[in-house]
């Protein structure tokens, strides 16, 4: 082993983490509050739907996924005071009224023959938008100052990817006819338009903007 007294760089050569990040403490807290709100709405409806779906495999998966999103909401709940929000309920809010409209429409189906609609809303619309917003946050926040948020984002994203795959495979296994393809697509389009109006789970800017400033203002 080399001389233990010999000076070493504080950051190892392979550690490329940087200080700058796109979010202030306040902006990170605002987003985390939005995340907690949407995770709560998601675990509540998944729990509620369990009794309404006749398909046994779907029933059991919804019960499992219900806990995943409850746990995510708990992670965000615990993160808020660390971001100087001592009353976590104050920032546990929807990004805007349009997102409330999206959630209302997503949670509306109840009848036992609407499993496709229930799953499409969650696994083809909401969860892909959550993955997008969480990934944007992960890739844009300071890898040093906001490391606790990054750690929670990574835990949540791992669940989101696995749950998305579970849900998508359930949808594919339920769709048997052209008419059911159309049903799924129509419901997805309806909800996607509501999500578009909301601008994503954290409102406009959930995944930043892909356009240059000049084009964005054109």
């Amino acid at each position: 082993m080399a001389d233990p007294k010999k000076a070493r760089a504080p950051f190892a050569p392979w550690d490329r983490r940087e200080l700058p990040g796109a979010f202030t403490v306040e902006e990170s807290a605002r987003r985390v509050g939005n995340y907690k709100w949407i995770e709560m709405k998601l675990f509540e409806v998944l729990g509620g739907w369990v009794a309404t779906v006749p398909e046994l495999d779907v029933k059991m998966r919804l019960g499992t996924h219900c806990y995943h999103h409850a746990w995510h909401s708990e992670l965000w709940h615990k993160r808020l005071p660390e971001l100087r929000e001592m009353n976590p309920d104050r920032l546990t809010l929807p990004a805007n009224d349009e997102l409330v409209a999206f959630v209302d429409a997503m949670t509306e189906p109840e009848a036992p023959d609407l499993t496709i609609e229930k799953l499409v809303g969650v696994y083809r619309v909401l969860i892909p938008h959550k993955i997008a917003a969480y990934t944007f946050h992960l890739n844009n926040t300071s890898t040093i100052t906001d490391a606790p948020t990054i750690r929670s984002l990574k835990f949540a994203l791992q669940d989101e990817f696995e749950d998305w795959r579970d849900g998508e495979m359930l949808i594919q296994s339920l769709i048997d006819t052209d008419a059911e393809v159309d049903r799924a697509a129509a419901h997805q389009a309806k909800l996607e338009k509501l999500m578009l109006a909301a601008g994503g789970i954290a409102g406009p800017g959930s995944i930043g903007s892909a356009y240059t400033e000049q084009e964005a203002h054109a």
Binding site: G48, V50, E74
Partner: protein, 278 residues
């Protein structure tokens, strides 16, 4: 989706056969049935009908787990989040979501065990009286009915099945029941802790909740099906209930409730036999 989902609308596929609670208790094949002239019998491997009785009990556990999953899920949905009387605290909802996951695993375990024991889903009937305890519109009463009475029954059932697996030389059954038993102790402890926290400043509400629990416990004693007598098919699991927050007085009360339920059933049975012989 509506709040408070009625038991008769619980969604099932075509394999499931649903009976009313009355039909179930009047069916002479049901253990502890009021019209069963043999009365309740302890589940032991030397009983001639032990394999069928064990399979029936396993199927009952399976549908019970499905309803427990549905009940915990509805508690996540039915109430607004908050600290008001008709609301549910965020942390309680998190516990219910965790319970959803646990019950979903129990469903999976029960399906695998039923297959292991040679049972097909839907081979035995389902009644929804377990879920009905999870429909109370007061979150504290619902919690007490589900997490202390229903999940308490689950402790007794899993402990009995675990012992049956041990005596019958079925290590798979014993192994699985022991794991599920650990989860149920956690769920009952959740119920005990939340009951104490939510009614700390409201002794009247606490008493209403405990009274509701006594009613559900009597229903779950199933005419003497669960008790402390040597021939009780399901034995009161005092050691595990103590871990879950039950005190001695509560367990003594429960034993008394079970004795009363058995005495009621015995009287009904004698009456039926007398009528048949007249």
């Amino acid at each position: 989706m509506r709040k408070i989902f009625p038991a008769d609308l619980l969604a099932r596929d075509e394999r499931f056969v649903r009976l009313t609670t009355e039909q179930r208790f009047m069916d002479p094949r049901s253990p502890g049935s009021r019209s069963n002239p043999r009365g309740a019998m302890k589940l032991t491997p030397d009983r001639p009908d032990a394999p069928d009785a064990a399979r029936a009990l396993m199927h009952g556990i399976f549908v019970g787990e499905v309803q427990a999953l549905e009940g915990a899920g509805r508690t996540c949905w039915d109430f607004e989040t908050g600290d008001g009387g008709d609301e549910t605290p965020f942390a309680l909802k998190l516990d219910m979501a965790r319970q959803c996951w646990d019950e979903a695993r129990h469903c999976e375990i029960s399906v695998k065990l039923s297959d292991w024991m040679g049972t097909e889903l839907g081979e035995f009937s389902e009644s929804t009286f377990l879920y009905e305890a999870a429909c109370n519109p007061d979150p504290v009463l619902r919690l007490t009915g589900v997490n202390r009475a229903l999940e308490g029954l689950a402790i007794d059932v899993f402990n009995t099945m675990k012992e049956f697996g041990d005596i019958a030389g079925d290590p798979v059954l014993e192994f699985c029941e022991d794991w599920m038993l650990a989860d149920e102790v956690t769920h009952v402890k959740m119920g005990s802790d939340w009951l104490r926290r939510l009614t700390e400043k409201d002794p009247e509400r606490r008493e209403r909740a405990l009274e509701f629990q006594r009613i559900v416990d009597k229903l779950f004693s199933l005419g003497g099906f669960r008790g402390e007598d040597d021939d009780s098919p399901i034995r009161l699991a005092r050691r595990f209930r103590e871990l879950a927050g039950f005190d001695k007085e509560e367990m003594d009360d429960l034993a008394e409730i079970s004795r009363e339920a058995k005495a009621d059933a015995d009287r009904m049975r004698e009456q039926l036999v007398a009528e048949a012989n007249a």
